[in-house]
Symmetry: C2
Subunit: 458 residues, 2 copies
């Protein structure tokens, strides 16, 4: 929920003191100190102390007070289950029912189906119904991140009646800063901001000054598209509707910040070929498990390079020095391929690259590759000549580097664009995948040209 | 500014129609249609039409109307200057003075000092002063992204007087949803939310229900730290103070979203070794210029690999097949190094890795490297044996891969941690840099071991 209190207690809470209050049964003192902390700090404390101390906390806090803490819990792998298991089911169920619906759904989605049904059965019917509505939206859609605690007023309201509705809804609504206007069939027909509401005089009809053309998102829209809209239009919240224009919920800016962060982390992981970004405190086996799949696949793919070099054994035996430049050519072209990949993937992710722009990007990348190939080729020639005084060898390395860089740059942008076209997440074309491909093509180019001119090189 | 209107006209504006209205001198009609668009869409239109059409727009829109458009302009390289140059200086100066101060500062910072002084001289004194205060804050600090249009009330106010102040300030304030409380020396002493204000009864003293422990940031804090705070505490805005606790400005959540995006883009670029993320429409020479520096540096560094392989010519001449595995071993260890790098850099950026955690991360990475080394070594052995039926060669490749992966993984996390310690931005240790280092170490390990056992391999 958007924090509208801006309240924060001690910059660092005194963990030892709080723990001793708990252990000594000083209920009132603990209540005073702990509940005065910002929920974020309450959650930090809750997470840090062990299960033993937490079992005392469950006795001291009501389910509603506990729900505030739980909502602020930010677990990297969303592993709520161990905490839920520490509680009595009825305590847990009631706590979940007191949470904002989107947060309740996040927690329940981590439990197995039996537990979910059980909790939904024992909690109050109204909360259970609100939660059920949201539970089955597909991950990463607007429906899966929206919440149902918004303020809606009928379109024939006056400012006075709207203020009353708003004041009543205030304690439970995620935000009261946008007030949505609906008709008698719950269709979204307009919106007013709290700012406009307070400034207007009490008898004015809402209908006269509401904004009729409301930006909204479909419940099935991808969360990344919702993030773009909120970013572009600087909204605090955006309403979510279905295809019939009926209002279903809202998504607030604080949740979108988490989405933006999550998506950035995912893209970053994929560029590095990590399946799912580790947290620093996972044990090595889990970390290895996340990275091995890609690593082994690329290892097997990399065997192709060994095969290729083996094919050219004849050439290498004649001029052994040729082998020295294999890593250099592969590495440099791999680097430029990774650069091109990053630019393309980022362009697709931010929505800058679409439609006809794709073609322009490819052309631009091809030309960039040519420019870089020429420059690097020249540098390579100079260094090789200075090192070995072999003009022909220098020329070969230069040409091979120049061609490899061109190919790598084009491939580095073409492949993600192709995948985007085939509706595959372009970030899957990871950096390591591109560099492995480049190893293969650069060896072919380099040793291929060398073989053609092998007589002259000997 | 936070958008509190949530108003949006046609999903796509009719560009042709608007242009023809301009060209036919239909001032009123253009005003009606254009000014009904969301500022974001107004800016999109403004950017798309050429300088000729824009020269007509400057005649149709007042500087204040133009300022709304300019604030919503999102230029990738912040190249406001061409647009400013299209206007009369007095028109431009007045427009800038009408903009929110943080946006005005963003624009002025892109112009040369003479122009800045000139504009500041000809605009009204009050705006010029507000702008001057913000102009010289160092880039990427809280001061450089804050704005001065906030609502502050004296601590001895009543709810009634606060509401009056707030209503008066509303048209110009970036946000009225947090109202800051200051003493008579402008020290920040508390905050109340608009929600709390409306619910309270009119004679209550602000002092009685304001939140005294306000989260604030120092004007010199890094923008990334501000982003973390706003993300963690779900704030809509955060006040900025100086070391004397005097209130200087606020930073709103919409600006922080841009910061988060910017920082993510930077990290992503650096992982790929791109100096500054290209936009897809830069010309090839500019794009090449951004990528070449790193590429050439790594090319020169990569010559070390050529030197090394050359040193081992004796070994390679005896068993030519050895050369075949150089790219494979270098590539696989490079991939695992990049993975480790990504995890470490991301951990440092999100603030997860600090202090003693660094050591834990290194230990964890070392162990992860050992696990992955063993698995990949085993896979490599099997494939090499299946391919060439050479058990000793297979063993050599397996051991070399295992050791290289361990070294790469440790280096991939150690180097960014070291740089972070030395106060260098760890993201500078780019992916390409790590892979080039890994090429060097893997060749040493592989050909070194091979040379030791060369007799047995022949």
């Amino acid at each position: 929920m958007i924090d509208e209190r801006m309240e924060k207690d001690e910059v660092q809470f005194d963990e030892e003191r709080l723990v001793s209050l708990l252990e000594n049964g000083a209920t009132d003192e603990f209540h005073n100190e702990y509940l005065n902390l910002h929920p974020y700090d309450q959650a930090q404390f809750y997470e840090k102390v062990g299960p033993d101390i937490r079992s005392i906390i469950y006795q001291y806090l009501s389910p509603k007070e506990m729900s505030t803490v739980f909502e602020a819990l930010e677990l990297d792998d969303e592993n709520y289950e161990p905490f839920i298991d520490e509680m009595d089911s009825s305590y847990a169920a009631q706590m979940i029912s007191e949470m904002y619906t989107d947060d309740a759904v996040d927690v329940l989605n981590e439990l197995d189906k039996d537990k979910i049904s059980h909790f939904l059965k024992i909690m109050d019917k109204e909360s259970a119904e609100d939660i059920r509505d949201l539970l089955y939206y597909e991950e990463h859609t607007a429906g899966s991140i929206m919440t149902t605690e918004y303020v809606a007023i009928p379109e024939n309201s006056t400012v006075r009646s709207a203020m009353t509705i708003m004041r009543n809804a205030a304690p439970d609504a995620e935000t009261i800063y946008y007030i949505f206007v609906v008709d008698d069939q719950n269709h979204l027909v307009g919106v007013i901001s709290l700012r406009d509401l307070i400034i207007a005089s009490e008898d004015t009809l809402i209908h006269d000054f509401m904004n009729e053309r409301v930006v909204s998102v479909l419940v099935t829209d991808d969360q990344e598209d919702v993030a773009h809209i909120m970013k572009d239009y600087n909204f605090l919240a955006v309403p979510v509707i279905n295809s019939k224009q009926e209002m279903l919920g809202i998504i607030t800016v604080d949740d979108i910040i988490d989405v933006i962060d999550e998506e950035a982390s995912e893209d970053y992981s994929k560029l590095a070929g990590v399946a799912d970004m580790d947290t620093f405190d996972s044990n090595p086996l889990i970390a290895a498990k996340k990275r091995l799949p890609w690593l082994v696949v690329l290892l097997i793919l990399g065997m192709i390079t060994a095969n290729l070099v083996d094919l050219f054994t004849g050439t290498l035996e004649k001029v052994a020095l040729l082998a020295a430049f294999i890593p250099l050519i592969g590495g440099t072209s791999g680097n430029s391929g990774t650069q091109a990949l990053a630019v393309a993937v980022r362009g697709i992710a931010t929505g800058d690259v679409t439609g006809v722009n794709k073609f322009k990007l490819l052309i631009r990348e091809a030309l960039t590759g040519i420019v870089m190939g020429l420059v690097c080729g020249a540098v390579a020639f100079i260094i090789v000549y200075m090192w070995k005084s072999e003009m022909l060898l220098g020329l070969l390395v230069a040409v091979a580097i120049a061609c490899s860089i061109c190919v790598a740059t084009i491939a580095g942008s073409f492949i993600p664009l192709l995948m985007h076209r085939l509706k595959i997440d372009p970030a899957v074309a990871s950096g390591p995948f591109i560099t492995t491909l480049n190893d293969i093509t650069s060896i072919l180019i380099y040793l291929g040209i060398a073989t053609l001119f092998i007589e002259k090189l000997m």
